[in-house]
């Protein structure tokens, strides 16, 4: 209920419309109250007294009055529609804006379907309540009071019937409404559960099929379906008994009028016309009561809907502009992390623990580390997708929390791990961050991203429609569009997250070219999977166990970081490991770590041995496949065994 009162505040911007509707409602209801008087006059003065002219005039007056009332009714409906729809419009806009303002941490938890429900059917529910329910209740109550007054004035004895029926039926109706309320909430919940299963079966159809899990999914669905069925039956049981009861009570009321009133007419205390108008007023007093109950039932649903809506609207976005936040001036691109600690969950383990580093303007910072070691977290903190739990992140010495988010993010380009494109044309997708960009700019960005050629090869070129979630483009093509999208922003700070997965060599090479171009002269944070990228970095941050385990250039790290050396070798191994039977050379040929003999390198590159022999010689310490882990371990690590998978990995 309190949520609904809050929702009623949305009416504020439409108060004149709402007031107009209300006035019309009062008029219409007043008119309804007068109408039975015509019937009474026709019966008593006309028919009973056999006065034809009264009959005819009153019949015409009845019609004229109905016309008047209808006009007012129509005005009320039309005004109401504008009010209620206006409220729905405002609510949706607000929800939509809010969803956009909520931080990643919220969206990590939220399900698209649930948010959708809130912005669609929940809004409709509240709108319906405010429009139909709220106003009509007021109108109904007025009618009820009015007709009760008429009833008592006409015949107070007969009116006593009402004094019995009103509280009884009201009590009954309220009981129904309170019983139904939780059931309807359950229906909503179970329906959305069922829909989740359906949705997953649709979206994950490949996995379902590949693992032959149709029976399992069917079972899951059947369970959800059964639960929904059960609650619906429960509602049916209550509703199908209770609702006819409402009719029953109304019938009893009119029965009482004919019974008691009839007795009075027989005794001559009442005229027939009076009795009939009395029956009319009785119905007028009764139906509003029913409507009030229905509105009460609606309150439960609308209240739940309003609650869900406000749940979203009230979610405090910890990532929000501070009051008085200034726009970030055009930045140089100096990024500093000062003792940054970050936790996803309040009391969880830190994902970043006291991390400090500084990136000078224009530097390339490579982030290395095992999956989940916190690389993505670092880059997510820069555009303030999350807020630090402790410490601070600054750009050009300004704390990112002190500037407006929009100004911050518009100066940072991001290429995500997973490329999401939007329905629309390729041009629109590239211009995503700067919708006002000219066609030339879009083309320039696409060219730099090595995307121009394939885009041009489509029949519609830049106007080619990208289907929902970018399914018509291949993975590599999507990625290049995403790169062009970032390029078009011409950002000072660039974030590349694992951006070259799932493409073939050739495409990847193109992408690498594009990325290089993209990074030029910008402060770039690259979550790198390839040593080649790392080698070009000005700084390498090696993350381990939520901390920076090592930091420096490639050279420095090779000299002093074991973890780095390990990653380095595994990478190198990876790159040049060959399959054929060559014995692993147990000893490093070069002396210090990282030195790869030229011959071996060439061998690996050409697939020939260092001396023109058969390909497949290991340049250094690899192990042939299917022999399990190396016995000696790679060179350059002083014979240390490589980390085993079982070892607790950093995160």
């Amino acid at each position: 209920m309190k949520h609904l009162l809050r929702a009623a505040r949305f009416l504020k911007s439409y108060r004149w419309l709402a007031l107009g509707a209300f006035v019309c409602l009062v008029l219409a209801n007043g008119a309804s109250l007068v109408q039975p008087q015509f019937t009474r006059l026709i019966v008593d003065r006309g028919i009973r007294e056999q006065n034809m002219s009264v009959v005819i005039w009153m019949a015409l007056a009845l019609i004229g009055f109905a016309v008047l009332r209808s006009v007012v009714n129509f005005a009320q409906g039309a005004l109401m529609a504008r009010t209620a729809q206006g409220v729905a419009y405002d609510m949706r806009n607000e929800l939509y804006s809010k969803i956009h303002a909520l931080p990643f941490s919220y969206h990590d938890q939220a399900q698209t379907g649930q948010l959708m429900t809130r912005a669609t059917s929940d809004v409709d529910m509240v709108q319906g309540f405010l429009g139909q329910g709220f106003l009509m209740t007021v109108g109904a109550v007025l009618t009820m009071i009015g007709s009760l007054v008429f009833l008592f004035v006409t015949n107070w004895e007969l009116s006593l019937v009402m004094l019995v029926i009103v509280p009884v039926s009201f009590g009954l109706f309220t009981v129904i409404a309170t019983r139904i309320r939780p059931m309807f909430m359950q229906v909503q919940q179970r329906l959305s559960k069922l829909n989740t299963v359906l949705q997953e079966s649709l979206a994950g159809v490949r996995v379902v099929k590949a693992f032959v899990r149709e029976p399992y999914e069917s079972q899951r669905f059947a369970d959800a379906n059964q639960e929904l069925y059960d609650i619906n039956i429960k509602i049916a049981r209550t509703m199908s008994f209770m609702f006819p009861m409402v009719f029953f009570i109304s019938n009893i009321a009119s029965l009482a009028v004919y019974w008691i009133g009839g007795g009075q007419v027989i005794r001559g205390d009442l005229t027939l016309g009076e009795m009939m108008s009395f029956a009319n007023y009785m119905m007028m007093a009764f139906w509003p009561m029913l409507m009030v109950t229905m509105v009460i039932a609606m309150i439960s649903q609308a209240g739940a809907s309003a609650e869900r809506i406000f749940e979203v609207l009230d979610t405090r976005s910890e990532v929000a502009d501070k009051p008085g936040a200034r726009p970030l001036p055009a930045i140089e691109g100096r990024v500093r992390f000062a003792n940054v600690t970050f936790r996803y969950f309040e009391h969880g383990d830190p994902v970043l623990d006291d991390v400090s580093f500084e990136a000078q303007s224009g530097q390339v910072i490579a982030l290395l580390g095992a999956t989940g070691s916190g690389k993505s977290t670092i880059v997510n903190l820069i555009p303030r997708f999350y807020d630090v739990s402790d410490g601070q992140v600054t750009i050009d010495d300004l704390d990112v929390r002190d500037v407006t988010i929009e100004s911050l993010r518009s100066q940072i380009g991001t290429v995500f791990q997973e490329t999401t494109l939007f329905a629309g044309t390729i041009r629109e997708n590239i211009a995503f961050g700067r919708p006002e960009a000219s066609m030339d700019e879009v083309i320039a960005a696409a060219k730099a991203a090595e995307a121009h050629d394939f885009i041009e090869s489509f029949p519609n070129g830049y106007e080619t429609n990208v289907a929902e979630r970018g399914v018509t483009l291949s993975g590599g093509q999507k990625q290049r569009v995403a790169i062009a999208r970032a390029l078009l922003l011409d950002p000072r700070v660039l974030i590349l997250d694992d951006s070259t997965s799932s493409v073939d060599f050739e495409t990847e090479q193109r992408i690498q070219e594009a990325l290089k171009r993209l990074m030029e002269g910008r402060t770039s944070f690259v979550i790198a999977q390839r040593i080649a990228t790392v080698l070009n970095a000005d700084q390498i941050l090696v993350l381990d166990k939520a901390k920076i385990a090592a930091q420096g250039t490639h050279e420095e790290l090779m000299a002093r970081s074991e973890i780095y050396a390990e990653i380095y070798y595994s990478q190198l191994l990876h790159a040049v490991r060959t399959e054929l039977s060559g014995e692993p050379e147990g000893e490093p040929v070069g002396g210090r770590p990282g030195r790869v003999p030229e011959g071996a390198m060439r061998a690996a590159m050409t697939g020939r041995g260092p001396h023109g022999g058969p390909p497949g010689r290991m340049p250094h310490g690899g192990w042939p496949r299917r022999e399990g882990p190396p016995r000696g371990g790679p060179p350059g690590q002083g014979g240390r065994r490589p980390r085993k998978p079982e070892r607790k990995e950093s995160d």
Binding site: Y96, T112, A119, A210, M239, N251, E468, V596, M605
Partner: protein, 633 residues
């Protein structure tokens, strides 16, 4: 997004193409409940009888007791009201009967409502099950052509409308119609001229209703179209909210949304305004009818053609007659949209299953894993061949690497092997058995796949890994996770293996999701393994560890590997270079390098990048960047 209109539900059609056929088919769902249907019908008829009886009794009460008209009462009356008893006691007798009728009416209404609800829910239950089964049995072609979101909203909305019709629509429609018939019959049979006067306004009413209904349908169609646009806009931007925020596009999006939202608001206002005009108009008409009855009835009474009670009774009839007519028209609209929804659902249920088990399909015996592609052609659309004349033999235990540019057809090859699609020409066999001759379940059960796009289900990490083998114990799941190198990060999640992973695993990194999907495949322990870019999103160090696990896994299994990392390919027993749907080179890494063809070129280009810079750097002993010229494109 981008203010595109006409998407989403826009193509929804209002009316069923074949209303009658759809209705018949919908009715067949009620066949198992024939007995109940009969009971409901009987109750409906009783209800209609009660509906008619009440005004009649009131009329009797008025004419015989309240304002005695002197007209002789019906014969049955004398059996309950003895001659000479007082008017008041006669009135009480009639009223008692009326009370009884009201009680009966309550129960008959409750009974029919309950039974109809139960049947409706049962039918819906069955229908939903059928929908899901059909979705599972459809081949991937179907899903390639449709947006999951669109399909989803259609299914949800359509079943919802049908639900409404089943739970209240049908009963109301039938009871209202029956009541109307009952009333008309009674009115005409009792006094035809008064009945005629009562119905005088009916043609006008029907005409008005029809005109309004037509316009309202149009208006409401527009509201549905616009809400469809609102929904797809929401859907897309909620799932793409990360991009939106990263590109600080919120303002633009909000502006675009406002526009779509406004269109929806305006459509709704228009539709509701129309509705607001409708019921007052009907109100005028029914009041006119009332006035006519009163006028003509009054005149008849004056002339002595009718009794006062009769006029009172006809007034009650008229009210009971015109009110349901309004209801009837809205029920009719609802009914029609339900039929349209049902038709769409039937359309889905009738979608031909392209890939289905042959009638005599056998279980595929535990496979050795010898796989043969024999001159396989494949296309989705005839004009765009995807695979042409692909032949290959994979001996048991071999690893076959598929290499080639994006879009060459690599994924199609493995999809055909899984029989997600059927070949157009040629055949695929496992251990000499054509895969079209075995059941899909037995075929896929022996295959494990790790896909490029990791899909995780809502549920715990444990559930998601167990998806690979449902009867696996917790220990086995954990063991698989260990092998896939997922154990460590999983144990660090807030609730370890019981952590709920959100939709699409958003609170996990893509690498972590991939590890889970690898664990899933490991747990499934398949004979034939397909890795489609399985390790593309994990860092090299993790990949190396997974690779070791995979090496272990690959051992003794026939495997098809699509990967862009060299090592995997180099280790393969066979390398097939696919280009534009054809196998252009085949051999081992060594022989292909020797041959110096496309594979060689590709390999070199990749290698140069991964190795050379480093090689140079290391050889020079300096960071290549330090020479001042940053390598650029």
């Amino acid at each position: 997004m981008f203010g595109r209109h006409g998407r989403g539900l826009a193509r929804e059609k209002e009316k069923a193409k074949d209303s009658f056929g759809t209705l018949l088919r919908l009715l067949t769902y009620f066949k198992p409940f024939t007995g109940l249907v009969v009971i409901v019908l009987v109750l409906l008829v009783c209800n209609a009888a009660f509906e008619v009886a009440a005004p009649y009794l009131i009329e009797i009460a008025v004419d015989q007791f309240i304002v005695p008209s002197g007209v002789e009462g019906p014969r049955w009356l004398s059996s309950i009201v003895s001659e000479g008893s007082s008017l008041a006691s006669g009135l009480s007798r009639v009223m008692t009967i009326l009370l009884g009728i009201y009680v009966l009416r309550w129960f008959s209404m409750a009974g029919q409502g309950y039974l109809m609800n139960v049947m409706g829910q049962k039918v819906l239950f069955k229908m939903r099950t059928e929908i899901l089964d059909r979705i599972h049995s459809l081949s991937l072609n179907f899903f390639d052509e449709r947006e999951a979101g669109d399909l989803m909203s259609r299914l949800v909305n359509d079943t919802q409308v049908i639900n409404q019709v089943f739970t209240m629509g049908i009963v109301r429609l039938l009871s209202v119609s029956l009541n109307l018939i009952g009333i008309v019959v009674t009115m005409v049979s009792r006094k035809w001229d008064l009945a005629l006067a009562s119905f005088a306004i009916l043609p006008v009413m029907i005409l008005t209703t029809t005109v309004f209904a037509r316009r309202a349908r149009k208006a409401f169609r527009r509201t549905r179209e616009t809400i469809g646009e609102v929904s797809s806009e929401l859907e897309e931007n909620i799932s793409g909210v990360r991009e939106v925020q990263a590109f600080a596009r919120e303002r633009q999006n909000v502006a675009e949304f406002r526009q779509i939202n406004r269109a929806n608001r305006d459509a709704n206002v228009q539709a509701q305004t129309l509705t607001s005009a409708f019921s007052p108009t009907l109100d005028v008409l029914s009041n006119t009818a009332l006035a006519i009855v009163l006028g003509y009835g009054g005149w008849s009474v004056v002339r002595g053609w009718a009794t006062v009670g009769m006029v009172v009774g006809y007034m009650a009839y008229v009210q009971r007659f015109y009110r349901p007519i309004q209801m009837l028209s809205s029920l009719w609209t609802m009914f029609q949209s339900a039929l349209a929804g049902a038709e769409r659902i039937f359309e889905l249920l009738d979608t031909e299953v392209v890939v289905s088990d042959a009638l005599d399909a056998q279980e595929l015996a535990p496979a050795q894993g010898r796989i043969v592609f024999d001159h396989v052609d494949f296309h989705y659309k005839p004009e765009e061949p995807v695979l042409r004349d692909v032949s290959l033999v994979a001996e048991p235990g071999q690893t076959v690497a598929l290499v080639g540019p994006t879009g060459a057809g690599k994924t199609s090859i493995v999809s055909l092997l899984m029989r997600f699609y059927d070949v157009v020409e040629g055949s695929i066999s496992v251990d000499g058995q054509d895969i079209r001759g075995v059941t899909q379940a037995s075929l896929r059960e022996q295959m494990g796949i790790v896909l490029q796009d990791t899909f995780l289900f809502s549920g715990s990490v444990m559930d998601n890994i167990r998806y690979g083998r449902l009867d696996a114990t917790d220990d086995e799941v954990i063991e698989a996770a260990r092998l896939a190198n997922a154990h460590d990060f999983v144990t660090r999640l807030p609730e370890g293996y019981n952590t709920d992973i959100g939709e699409r695993g958003h609170n996990l990194s893509q690498g972590q999701r991939q590890l889970i999907s690898i664990a899933r495949a490991i747990l499934a322990d398949p004979r034939i393994l397909i890795l489609d870019e399985a390790t593309s999103s994990v860092d090299t160090r993790t990949e190396l560890l997974i690779q070791r696990a995979l090496d272990e896994l690959l051992h003794g299994r026939t495997s098809f590997v699509i990967a862009h990392r060299l090592s995997t390919i180099r280790n393969a027993d066979q390398v097939l270079f696919i280009d534009q749907g054809e196998v252009v080179e085949r051999g081992t890494h060594a022989t292909l390098m020797e041959a110096g063809g496309k594979y060689h070129d590709l390999y070199m280009s990749q290698f140069r990048r991964e190795g050379q810079e480093e090689h140079e750097a290391v050889a020079a002993g300096v960071d290549p960047r330090n020479d001042g010229s940053k390598p650029s494109a």
